[in-house]
């Protein structure tokens, strides 16, 4: 007879594969690309530390849960760099299929609950999801600042592209954090423009 623990432990072992999915951003010291497992830890820690900057109606513990599972679909669908040129609709379909397969490994009620939580994150409409998305957008540019440019250089990103794809999402969920961060990001882009990079 199959027991809940059989399914739960198989899911947790499957999740281990996320540590092998590489992202466009690097560690702060620039030594290597970071993987989606350690990234997921880092932004869950962002949520733990920055919860007080969330808007009304946000439950930081729920945001942490959301962020712990938000990238699991990349086990099947891979990481789509924010400055890349993927087909958004095709990627969304691929990620939803991945979510159904991966959360479908769990006992039925638990799998359904986490699939719903993941879809809520993706939809980016609820207060929790909007805040979670803003943290997911905030961590990569902070890594870029620390490493001296990172994916901004690799993808030759303009400040306009950065504001449209990243800044707007940070501002929406965490305007206070954006006010703190934007002058720092802008200083990097201004410096790069000055040196003709």
């Amino acid at each position: 007879m199959s027991r809940p623990l059989d399914a739960q432990m198989a899911f947790l072992q499957e999740a281990d594969r996320l540590k092998s999915v590489l992202r466009a951003t690097t560690l702060g010291n620039g030594s290597r690309r970071e993987n989606s497992g350690e990234h997921s830890w880092h932004i869950a820690l962002y949520a733990l530390i920055l919860g007080d900057h969330a808007g009304p109606g946000v439950d930081p513990s729920r945001v942490i849960r959301m962020l712990l599972i938000h990238d699991l679909v990349e086990i099947d669908a891979g990481d789509a760099p924010i400055f890349g040129d993927q087909d958004a609709a095709a990627l969304a379909a691929e990620e939803d299929a991945a979510a159904q397969r991966i959360f479908g490994m769990l006992p039925e009620a638990q799998g359904a609950e986490l699939l719903a939580l993941w879809r809520e994150f993706e939809a980016a409409e609820s207060p929790d999801a909007v805040f979670a998305k803003s943290l997911d957008r905030l961590q990569p540019p902070m890594q870029n600042l620390a490493s001296g440019g990172g994916s901004w250089i690799e993808y030759n990103v303009s400040p306009e592209t950065f504001e449209a794809r990243v800044g707007s999402k940070i501002k929406r969920g965490a305007p206070g954090i954006w006010d703190w961060a934007w002058p720092r990001f802008k200083a990097w882009f201004d410096q790069r423009a000055k040196t003709g990079g």
Copy 2:
């Protein structure tokens, strides 16, 4: 004037260094050692998935917070392999000094709260800490099972040493999970004894 976000973002960038601390256990596919950042994500996910197996009085959200921060001290003190021969008292002192430095980077009230949470985990007395410790002990042998032996082989671990240093801790905080896991671990040790490993 220093603002909370200055301190919080400096702390989050310091935390990034945990991704460069390597552990004795490997990824499930055995391809490389895992680092303490991705390990922290994995066991926070263990807590999210296995919360229903906790004893009375355990708050899974609090356990997740505990596990997200439990290894940060390794940025200064390094990872002490469970089957290694470290001086426990010296290590405890080194880790407590690390906790004071690292959580001391945060705004005062927040730093004090997380230092207390970390010390609660280390003391392993409260229901939350006992459950968190059991998950922290459970994940490495699950990795070893997946990879075909891992640190059990590297440290030539006997089933008696495993039960004393690891099994007893898993059993204390999560007896139901231990009942599920022990026959699987035992089968590995039995097989190794049979093949003279």
